[in-house]
């Protein structure tokens, strides 16, 4: 299905409880009600369905699809086929009440009624270009749908869409995303329970790959909500570095700075020059989130000072960083409560605050969005309100 509009290749006929798969070439004409064939029923050309072909009645009609334009999950009420240069193409799906009425033979009546009271009854069509099928045919081998269109969306949009799907369809989406995208999407899903259930339905290898691409603090939150055994299993499969970070975070109580922090931060030795520090940053390739501040430590990770990227860049390349770093760093202790962390960040207008132990050794940073998420009562439009 590389073209925007897939070609209809075959038709499945059912009569006298006999099901026959026929090549579309035998179809002479078709409309809403009838399909007439060129040859007599006895000598019909069979069509063998390839695995890559969609079975429209089974996988699209009446099923849920993702509407890529509206970025939501909708149900297909009818299909729109069209004759283009000798072949029949699926050009779109109908998701509106008209499609619904048409299927039960009430479209004509409905049109007369709406016309009589002077109302317009618009079609709600979605072009096939904007359709991403959800339904997987589980009959034989688990043929997964590629979700190529869906994968192009922003992780936050994918997360909203995934929210509306059943657990199996959810993991099918995740199976189709690459590790990086899957990790970002998983982070966007606010409900730890749902995150956990998605990972549980993926195989361990794949799940741990996704976890490695996530921020360690998110991973720790997630694993804390999983059955202990399964969490252990995932940790073991993860690379040692990442797993170590996560294990450290898991040891802290959730309602402390230690539990809120991430171990992804940038620290450089105080003995470096500005040029060497910039070189070090290049090697580390830090994520956007963690490069708000560059922390300066000694060999034992004692926190000595802090720099902004700006400070580093405007300084003369050969200057030692300990000579121009800001020495009195604002920090919080590992056992500080979320409220205290929030107060500190807002008082000093920080984007992130370093977390230290009783010996002033740095263990991680708490970013402002992580702490705000904790202290603010449920963000508007964030968490889905559950009824059951």
């Amino acid at each position: 299905m590389t073209e925007p509009f897939p070609k209809v290749t075959g038709v499945i006929l059912k009569n006298n409880r006999k099901v026959r798969s026929l090549d579309w070439a035998v179809v002479r004409s078709w409309d809403n009600k009838e399909l007439s064939l060129k040859v007599d029923a006895a000598s019909l050309q069979p069509h063998s369905r390839a695995d890559t072909e969609l079975w429209l009645a089974r996988q699209i009609l009446d099923k849920q699809i993702v509407d890529m334009d509206g970025r939501r999950v909708v149900r297909v009420n009818d299909l729109q086929l069209s004759q283009v240069e000798g072949s029949t193409l699926v050009i779109g799906v109908d998701i509106g009440s008209r499609g619904l009425a048409r299927r039960v033979g009430l479209e004509g009546l409905g049109r007369r009624v709406t016309a009589a009271i002077g109302l317009d009854w618009p079609q709600k069509l979605i072009s096939w270009e904007a359709v991403d099928p959800v339904k997987t045919d589980v009959s034989s081998v688990k043929l997964r749908i590629a979700h190529t269109k869906l994968a192009k969306l922003h992780p936050a949009d994918i997360a909203d869409i995934v929210n509306e799907l059943s657990p199996d369809d959810r993991s099918a989406v995740f199976a189709a995303l690459d590790d990086e995208k899957a990790a970002d999407t998983l982070e966007e899903i606010d409900e730890p329970q749902m995150q956990a259930s998605i990972l549980e339905r993926l195989d361990v290898e794949r799940a741990s790959d996704i976890l490695e691409a996530m921020a360690p603090d998110e991973v720790a939150d997630l694993l804390a909500d999983m059955p202990r055994e399964r969490a252990q299993q995932l940790l073991q499969k993860m690379e040692e570095d990442e797993a170590g970070d996560v294990e450290e975070l898991l040891a802290y109580r959730e309602d402390t700075a230690g539990g809120l922090m991430t171990t992804e931060y940038v620290a450089v030795l105080h003995t470096l020059t500005a040029a060497e520090a910039i070189e070090r940053l290049r090697e580390l390739e830090p994520d956007a989130e963690s490069v708000y501040y560059v922390y300066v430590t000694d060999e034992e990770e004692h926190l000595l000072g802090v720099l902004s990227l700006r400070d580093l860049i405007v300084a003369k390349p050969e200057t030692k960083i300990r000579d121009f770093m800001i020495k009195n760093v604002i920090s919080v202790r590992l056992d500080a409560g979320p409220r205290e962390v929030a107060e500190v960040t807002s008082k000093y207008n920080l984007l992130a605050v370093p977390v230290v132990d009783e010996h002033n050794r740095i263990h991680g940073i708490v970013t402002v969005d992580d702490v705000m998420e904790r202290v603010m009562p449920a963000r508007a439009g964030g968490r889905r309100r559950r009824i059951f």
């Binding site: 009446d62 297909v76 009420n77 619904l100 059943s166 329970q193 009824i387």
Partner: protein
């Protein structure tokens, strides 16, 4: 703590002890003593068949029942089921608001119902849409402990336990219109289509894994047991008091509720009416807040419309319209000064009864479909079991319909 482990099955079972349920069981006990106790065993078995099937489907597919019906059977059957479901549940909602009115009448006098019904409607609407439904649900669930009153009352009334046990084990049947009517009422009020939709959505929404199936089965059976134990003791308590005292309760009599309340006299003495009213009010409110919501979910899910209690009217117009309409219709009809209460409480049973034979074959087909259920499809043994249940319930429904259209049919004997 205890409430944390309350699962979908227990919630469903308790919501089923609604206004029609309580009055149905009480009528059975006051008219026929213990003679219908055996029927509770039968309904429990039927419920186990149906509810465990939907719980399994919800767990395995993670989808609601109307979702599966639409995807498996297409548009026409879905449309029919949804039309019936809407009317059946709207009718039941009317009965729940009538229950609110009845309870208010007992507690505060005759005029109170005209204040209580609209108040309850507004309360339900707001609490569900703008408050926390979960909290409300848990509080109402806790209040169902009022039903324990029936158990105590039944013991205090010193029933002849020999008779009680005899009638639980040995079926009795009379071919008289009144017996058949109450027989059908009990089946109709206990086994309802909305329970199937409600429990499956509830299970699906919890996102259970097929590995959790054994817990879900325990939850389902626990819910059904709680439901039927309460029903059992309502019948014993009414049988030991009202029936034993030869009081006749005419359901069309406005004072019927206060007579039914006599069953709680051994426990609550002169406050029997109040205790009964609180139980009735609670049962009615709980069902009135669950039914419209679960119906609206089922319908919007089947047609793929925007849904969710946190959506605005612009985002989910159909969802909010159907939900509001059900409450307005329910409360509105129950408000009529001379509303025919007998019809109101029986109408849901008629429509539910017609929907069941339509729904059950679909349920069984779905639960057998390997493409949907994989290795969790029905076993042959379970099919024999659920098939027998289907035949029994269809027969009861046909008998019921026959008794409506040919009123003289069972009068001959």
């Amino acid at each position: 703590m205890l409430l944390a482990v309350v699962g979908p099955g227990i919630i469903t079972g308790n919501v089923d002890n609604d206004a029609t349920g309580i009055t149905g069981y009480a009528l059975a006990g006051s008219h026929f003593g213990y003679e219908l106790l055996w029927l509770l065993v039968v309904t429990a078995i039927c419920l186990v068949a149906i509810q465990s099937m939907v719980a399994r489907m919800g767990t395995v597919t993670g989808k609601g029942l109307s979702d599966l019906i639409r995807e498996r059977f297409g548009i026409a059957p879905t449309l029919w089921v949804m039309i019936f479901l809407f009317f059946a549940n709207a009718a039941t909602t009317v009965a729940e608001f009538a229950g609110v009115g009845g309870a208010a009448q007992l507690l505060f006098g005759d005029v109170a119902r005209y204040a209580a019904i609209p108040l309850a409607a507004i309360l339900v609407w707001f609490l569900v849409l703008r408050g926390s439904f979960r909290v409300v649900e848990r509080i109402l669930l806790l209040l169902t402990l009022v039903y324990l009153g029936y158990i105590v009352s039944a013991f205090l009334a010193h029933p002849k336990w020999g008779d009680v046990i005899h009638h639980t084990v040995v079926p009795t049947f009379h071919f008289t219109p009144s017996f058949i009517l109450i027989f059908i009422t009990i089946v109709g009020t206990t086994i309802t289509p909305w329970m199937a939709f409600f429990q499956q959505s509830n299970v699906a929404d919890k996102g259970l894994h097929p590995d959790d199936l054994k817990y879900e089965r325990i939850d389902t059976i626990a819910g059904i047991l709680m439901l039927n134990v309460v029903a059992f003791f309502i019948i014993v308590a009414t049988g030991a008091t009202i029936y034993a005292a030869h009081v006749t309760v005419d359901p069309s009599d406005p004072s019927a509720f206060s007579k039914i309340a006599l069953a709680l006299k051994p426990l609550a003495g002169q406050y029997a009416e109040q205790l009964f009213a609180i139980g009735l009010l609670n049962a009615s409110l709980m069902a009135a807040s669950v039914l419209p919501l679960s119906t609206t979910y089922a319908i919007t899910e089947a047609f793929g419309l925007e849904r969710g209690i946190d959506k605005s009217f612009r985002e989910a117009p159909v969802f909010l319209t159907i939900y509001t309409a059900m409450i307005v219709i329910g409360a509105g009809i129950a408000m009529f000064p001379r509303a025919p209460l007998v019809l109101i409480t029986n109408l849901p049973n008629i429509i539910n009864g017609m929907l069941l034979p339509l729904l059950l074959p679909l349920l069984i087909l779905l639960a057998n479909d390997k493409r949907i259920m994989g290795r969790y499809a029905n076993s042959p043994l379970f099919n024999v079991f659920s098939g027998a249940v289907m035949v029994f319930l269809t027969a009861v429904t046909l008998a019921f319909l026959a008794s409506i259209f040919f009123p003289g049919l069972f009068a001959g004997r």
